[in-house]
Amino acid sequence: MSTDHETRLAGLLRAALDGDEACYADFLRSVAQLVRIMARRKLAAAGSAEPEDVVQETLLAIHLKRHTWRPGSPVMPWIHAMARYKIIDVHRRRGRRVEIDIEEFANVLEAESHETVSARDVGKALAGLAEGQRSVVAAISVEGRSISETARKLGMKETAVRVALHRGLAAIAARFGRPET
């Protein structure tokens, strides 16, 4: 089972690190699916939190920490450790403990899963961004525009759009670490 996933995902991430946007989106969609099943099981058992929040937090973390993967080393344990850290983090913030082992992660790979509920936390964090970053992130994510379309629409340079997008995503990710209000 896992060798297929391992080879495919490692290949996609390697291409992504070389700048291939389509491979990167493919990689992220697969990761979302894996983490979703894992999070749904864990969080349902503890009766708390929206699994999709964990999925999105993990995707952001993987994005901002993708330079910690060493090409050539296994990618599945890296994804698993990242998701595990984020699930435990969510529980810690809600005052619970959770144990996750890798066996369950492996079983999860067999199943199919689709997003059912959209997350609230990322949406909330997006709303809290500074105006410039928010309009850029919203244009690219919610409206599905490309970098160049966004630049034209907002009357910005493409490099400025890229910077605002990166800072906006980093700011959204940073918000999760804070205690809930």
């Binding site: 992504a16 690190l17 700048g19 291939d20 946007e21 389509a22 990167y24 989106a25 992220l28 969609r29 979302a32 999709e52 999925v55 999105q56 995707l59 952001l60 973390a61 994005h63 901002l64 920490k65 993708r66 330079h67 910690t68 993967w69 060493r70 080393s73 296994p74 599945m76 344990p77 890296w78 994804i79 698993h80 450790a81 990242m82 595990r84 850290y85 997003e115 959209s118 997350a119 990322v122 949406g123 997006l126 992130v137 690219i140 994510s141 919610v142 599905g144 490309s146 970098i147 890229r162 997008l165 990166h166 995503l169 670490g177």
Partner: protein, 212 residues
């Protein structure tokens, strides 16, 4: 927000060049060594008889131990900064330098009369050692914690301790050029204590600053 929408935004952010964690460590440790060197030469400086000392096994052995310690701790730190890289298991590499030191102590105990042991362990510079190794290591510790923040330690406290040990190893490697107490008995007693202080400081710093 829908996850697919978030994925579009993340994928669009991929064009920026990614600085690899290995490059981050190269930068952080390079800067750490420079800062340690600057602090060392501004405060203590090498001992006056360093040329003569450098011909003795006792003096050189100190560097074998401290440099081996800094190097192995750096490898462990790198593992701890990468999720799923078996960080905790790599902790055993930290045993390398203590094992070398234990051999040195064994030889020292064979060569030196029992009556000398206590005097050799106490030395003359214990307070200087306990003051200056932490002092020289403080800047390097800060730089390594910065490097750790760019990583993704799933155990930030533990990774912070190891960052403190790397800083301690670097600081001790400079301090050893100043200190006239060359016995492995002195190194095992006071260097260990001084490096442990940096490890403790690193643990706190890791918990505070290396979460993600």
């Amino acid at each position: 927000m829908k996850t697919d929408n978030l994925i579009s935004a993340i994928a669009a952010d991929n064009a920026r060049p990614v600085i690899r964690q290995g490059q981050i460590w190269a930068l952080a440790t390079g800067a750490a060594v420079l800062v340690a060197a600057a602090t060392f030469f501004a405060t203590l400086g090498p001992r006056p008889d360093i040329a003569a000392a450098a011909t003795t096994v006792h003096f050189l052995f100190k560097f074998v131990v401290t440099i081996a310690f800094a190097g192995s701790a750096l490898l462990v730190l790198d593992r701890l900064a990468r999720p799923g890289a078996d960080g905790p298991r790599s902790l055993r590499w930290l045993g390398l330098a203590p094992a070398l030191l234990a051999i040195g102590i064994g030889v020292e105990l064979l060569l030196q009369p029992t009556a000398q042991w206590q005097m050799l362990a106490e030395g003359k510079n214990s307070l200087v050692c306990l003051t200056y190794i932490p002092l020289i290591g403080l800047g390097p510790l800060g730089l390594l914690i910065l490097g750790l923040r760019r990583g993704a330690p799933t155990r930030p406290g533990l990774a912070g301790v190891v960052a403190g040990l790397v800083a301690g190893g670097i600081a001790a490697s400079f301090y050893a050029a100043h200190c006239t107490d060359d016995s492995p008995l002195f190194v095992a007693t006071w260097y260990t204590l001084a490096v442990a202080m940096l490890g403790a400081a690193g643990g706190i710093a890791g918990r505070l600053f290396a979460r993600w």
